[in-house]
Subunit: 325 residues, 2 copies
């Protein structure tokens, strides 16, 4: 895990992460060979593992953290996350994610559909044995939120959302999972109710900051920086916060909005739109919004006891905002 | 529920079924409008509700059946079943199921994908609060079985399976859910271990008998009889037991097998193949196999106490074998 070696915040939970990685490599064991191969493909090169790191750090704020149970939660939520990505990649007809071919690209849509179902089932099987019903309910509600966010994307008439609508969507699709990681772990570890609430608030804010930063990174830099091509949201006609701000700033916002929402853009139109958005100030304004959520996350940490784990959570919030990919 | 009025075996569990139907009509309440609409579409005209009926009858063999918990299990397994159908219909590009347009046909594949995820999540949320961990695990394992069966269909090279391979596939895709209904309900109701086992065996056998009968019905009669067109499995190149037997009986079995497995059959070839299979004796042999599983199901019932519920289970086994659709 090369990133882990570079970031200090992993150090406190190294053993937990190693156990999680071992378990993820084992997800396909004993299952149908196609699922086993897909699981090996998905978990062969683990990503940044930010969400499990949040689970392990948040659990340290309670007295009752039994390690096995916390790893169960971390694995369950990572499987929920992975399952939803596998299904999203079908909907988006995506060939690559983090420069790795998607399951639908390596196999096909049908296989990816069932692999996602499998991963969700594994996630729920793990969640079901957690000792607190409210945490089990939280895992299910996280999936409902992911589905709500995804349905909002696929079922609505293409339109430029307001800032509030955009924030609602990314809260459902991204931040709900970050919040569940932090809050669920604290609950499982019998943390004080006010610490559970603070960690939940931190998770939501850090998740919003993460997604806005992701959407900014999609519009800047070369194709190397985010492990995916620049302008992919734009190519898909998926409006993000920098685009919303660019439309607001444009003298003929309605025309710019239609161009952003259009599908089948040519490479020239794509380059031109990226340049327009970059010069609109929308990217700087979106960065400021991400910074504001970052600051809210840090403020939530003030309600937690001063410990090395709190410092690590602060570093994660900084990392999420400052990362180049 | 017109069928319920016609079949005696529903009478004992009428109140439970009414409560389940009320709950199913409520599945979409408070959710995303597109999900709510899809749920109303799916549960607006309930089917035969054989699986929930099995749940309610099997629960009567234990002393501890709390009605609410049993309805939770019935609803959970019905949602698992419905979710898997919604996803199967994407894989099969099916437009109709029981003469009702599929979710992918009314909306599109993307919506159907997420609606299925939603239903699975609802199913697990219900299962997670069941008071017995082994029943929760059973629900998850039923989903693994469904996924295994579906992966076997989509991930293998098209080939004529052996009878044993066919039976393994339908055990995963159909019988596992019937077994979970019977066994899970008996477990929840604190039935004697030997009665739990007998009900599980009954469920498996009756599920196998159900699927073979379904596959036979797909090859006989007019388009009115099964609520779907005749020869649909054949049109999709999906080999079933009567086809396997027809190939075994044919002088040039390899040639017949290739014709059965071929996709994009014309209407004339389809008619000709149906006639060939009908005249091969394969349908009668498959019916005899379904009858044998029916008889195994009845034999399993001998290990249960003599009660009206046992007679109802016998009637269900008969109904499954004799139905015309």
């Amino acid at each position: 895990m090369t990133i882990a070696q570079r970031q200090r915040f992993y150090a406190l939970v190294e053993n937990d992460l190693a156990e999680l990685e071992r378990r993820l490599r084992d997800v396909g064991r004993g299952a149908h060979p196609t699922f086993a191969a897909a699981a090996a493909h998905l978990f062969g090169s683990p990503g940044k593992l930010l969400r499990p790191t949040l689970v392990f750090l948040a659990a340290r704020f309670g007295p009752g953290a039994r390690s096995g149970v916390i790893v169960d939660l971390a694995e369950s939520l990572e499987l929920v996350h992975t399952a939803s990505l596998v299904h999203d990649d079908i909907v988006d007809s995506a060939d690559l994610r983090r420069n790795v071919p998607t399951v639908n690209a390596v196999w096909n849509d049908d296989v990816a559909l069932i692999v996602g179902d499998y991963l969700f089932a594994k996630a729920y099987a793990l969640a079901a044995v957690l000792p607190k019903p409210e945490v089990i309910a939280m895992v299910a509600h996280t999936v409902f939120a992911l589905c709500d966010g995804e349905l909002t994307e696929v079922a609505s008439v293409p339109a430029m959302p307001s800032e509030a609508q955009y924030l609602e969507r990314i809260e459902l699709k991204t931040a709900s999972l970050y919040a569940a990681c932090c809050q669920g772990a604290a609950l499982l570890a019998d943390a004080e109710p006010e610490h559970v609430a603070a960690l939940g608030a931190y998770g939501t804010s850090v998740g919003l900051s993460f997604q806005i930063t992701d959407d900014v990174l999609d519009l800047i830099g070369g194709s190397e920086s985010l492990g995916k091509e620049v302008g992919r949201d734009l190519a898909e006609g998926m409006p993000t916060l920098p685009m919303i701000y660019a439309v607001e700033a444009d003298a003929d916002g309605a025309a710019l909005a239609s161009r952003i929402l259009a599908l089948d853009k040519g490479p020239e139109e794509l380059r031109d739109l990226i340049a327009t958005i970059r010069s609109s100030g929308g990217i700087e304004r979106a960065r400021a919004r991400a910074q504001a959520f970052h600051d809210e996350a840090i403020a939530a940490l003030d309600r937690l006891p001063d410990r090395p784990e709190r410092e690590a959570l602060r570093e994660i919030a900084d990392f999420i905002l400052r990362r180049q990919r």
